[in-house]
């Protein structure tokens, strides 16, 4: 029982990274209308930007994380804007192929600059807090808190602000939005910015808890896409539920299976779900 509780906790931790990645991926899809393969690489970009300030320049973790986040958002949004907006490639499949190119370039530029070895943030030593059978470090608590906070923030932006309304309208019908005088170009770049921001935060949080590597984005590809598609691509709330499902299922599966099969498990969950509901749990048909 204690083991199950602990696995659920580490599942929620995994879900925190997944949910931030999956929300960005799903709103990108809703507005830009393609599956961005490079999206998990923005997590890697965030982690390495923070690592640059923390590991290379030697700043303490918190300022490094903030500076890294800012630079990752600037770089990532610029890359996304150029690749997906300025190059005049249109249509879901051509843009998907472009995003594969972006993913390759991002990952290997980082590998060129930082090498392909595992890296770690230097953070102060932490004493775990003990809650009954659960032991949590302050990094883990911070991760869960930031994830919950950002999910709530996304919810408020989506439901309470003008931009959220624009976003939902664009996901629903982009042509109609344009006719109605919505500044589509502005909305597109803002969405990219938010998506990169969430992904980079997830990457930094991941680096806070584990070790980072240029290929970490690739390792997140299957779970993040599973979470996104599970919830119905384009639906941010679905992505939240999807991320939690995938994160917890992955950890529970380690009770019966070797941890190397985590990706296989998330893929199996996804395949099973799509067999029953081809549009995802809360997706629209078509």
């Amino acid at each position: 029982m204690a083991e199950l509780v602990n696995l659920t906790v580490s599942g929620s931790l995994t879900a925190s990274f997944l949910v931030l990645g999956a929300i960005g991926l799903t709103i990108t899809f809703g507005v830009l209308r393609f599956a961005n393969i490079a999206h998990p690489d923005f997590m890697m970009l965030g982690a390495y930007s923070a690592f640059f300030f923390n590991g290379v320049l030697g700043l303490p973790f918190l300022p490094s994380a903030l500076l890294g986040l800012c630079s990752a958002v600037l770089i990532g949004t610029a890359i996304a804007w150029i690749a997906y907006d300025r190059l005049d490639v249109r249509g879901p499949v051509p843009l998907l192929i472009v995003s594969i190119g972006v993913s390759l370039v991002l990952r290997h530029v980082v590998q060129f600059l930082f090498g392909s070895d595992f890296r770690q943030f230097s953070t102060p030593l932490q004493r775990p807090y003990v809650f009954g059978p659960v032991r949590l470090t302050s990094s883990q608590i911070a991760t869960l808190a930031v994830a919950v906070l950002l999910v709530v923030a996304v919810h408020i932006i989506l439901t309470r602000t003008k931009f959220g309304r624009t976003l939902r309208a664009m996901a629903d019908n982009p042509t109609l939005c344009e006719i109605a005088g919505v500044d589509v170009a502005h909305a597109r770049i803002t969405v990219m910015g938010i998506a990169v921001f969430l992904a980079a935060t997830a990457g930094i949080l991941f680096g806070l808890n584990f070790i980072i590597q240029p290929s970490m984005g690739w390792d997140f590809l299957i779970p993040i896409f599973s979470a996104t598609i599970l919830g119905g691509i384009g639906n941010p709330y679905g992505a939240m539920v999807g991320a939690l499902t995938i994160g917890v299922t992955q950890e529970w599966s380690t009770l019966f299976l070797s941890p190397v099969y985590k990706d296989v498990v998330s893929f199996a969950v996804l395949a099973l779900c799509l067999l029953l509901r081809p549009q995802g749990l809360w997706g629209k048909v078509g």
Partner: protein
């Protein structure tokens, strides 16, 4: 030098088979298959495992094709109904899941150590010095047969139906065609070609390891297909030749820029491949290759 050209030509033949299969999927039928490497890997591993166990190479190859037919039918039946971007992600995931299985199912695949010592077919009948040439001939014969079959299929009523489905699902349905069935057949045929390519690769390199079957292989095939032109069978072969020469050519980069270590050099190579992919798509959209080509250039 001659040996090097023979080796390059052999790789071109194998890459061309893989690309032909993909072109059948995407260029002709519009199936967005990002998991072509899965079928390539199945073929390679089937050949490796069975021929090391003593099967003759042709039977091992046929067994690989049979497994691929089964795997692609299963994949197709479950996923072909989905939207194209879902399908793309699922095929990509499928190929990664198979690679993870190959990496961890040690009893069958020997995991990360791979399977060495795959026998070369008909080796005892050929003078060792000319074996490379013989293997090139073998690859060429299979490629020519596959090319002819693809052409016949593409020009037959079957191929016409595939193009009709690609252009307009609903219209094809209103003529009493079942798009799912035709897409499935197209997927199986392209997967079988990939499997043959994988078998040829395994017997040629005589060593398989899961690292050879990363999604990059799929991306290279996509690049070769786009370079050659969507739906064009001769284009697939030309595109494969361009890709192999580019990929093998950049391996000599190390000699040109000696002050970079091997991982950095590998990174530069991948950066160029990524930029190449983007450039290809930009060019392709300018020329409206994607989505608008309807006339078969076969």
């Amino acid at each position: 030098m001659i040996d090097y050209i023979v080796a390059l030509a052999t790789l071109v033949g194998i890459q061309a088979l893989l690309t032909l299969g993909l072109n059948f999927h995407f260029g002709l039928t519009g199936i967005v298959n990002f998991g072509q490497v899965a079928f390539y890997g199945i073929g390679a591993y089937a050949s490796a495992i069975l021929s090391v166990a003593g099967w003759p190479a042709p039977f091992a190859m046929l067994a690989g094709v049979a497994i691929c037919v089964l795997a692609s039918s299963l994949l197709g039946l479950t996923t072909l109904r989905l939207r194209e971007d879902y399908f793309a992600i699922l095929t990509l995931g499928f190929s990664e899941v198979l690679r993870i299985l190959a990496l961890n199912w040690r009893d069958l695949t020997n995991g990360a150590f791979g399977i060495p010592g795959i026998p070369r077919p008909f080796e005892s009948y050929i003078v060792p010095a000319s074996y490379g040439l013989f293997y090139l001939a073998l690859v060429t014969v299979l490629l020519v047969v596959a090319f002819a079959l693809c052409r016949v299929l593409a020009l037959s009523p079957f191929g016409r139906t595939l193009r009709a489905i690609k252009d307009d699902d609903q219209a094809a349905m209103s003529f009493g065609k079942n798009p799912l069935r035709f897409r499935l057949l197209s997927l199986i045929w392209g997967a079988s070609l990939a499997s043959v390519a994988g078998s040829l690769w395994a017997h040629y390199i005589t060593f398989v390891v899961p690292d050879q079957f990363t999604p990059e292989v799929t991306f290279y095939a996509w690049m070769a297909m786009i370079i050659g032109g969507l739906g064009s069978m001769p284009g697939s072969i030309a595109g494969a030749a361009v890709m192999v020469v580019l990929l093998e050519g950049t391996r000599f980069g190390n000699d040109l820029i000696p002050f970079l270590d091997a991982p950095r050099m590998a990174a530069i190579r991948q950066i160029f491949i990524g930029l190449g992919l983007i450039a290809l798509m930009v060019r392709a959209s300018r020329r409206a290759w994607i989505g608008q080509q309807t006339a078969p250039s076969t």
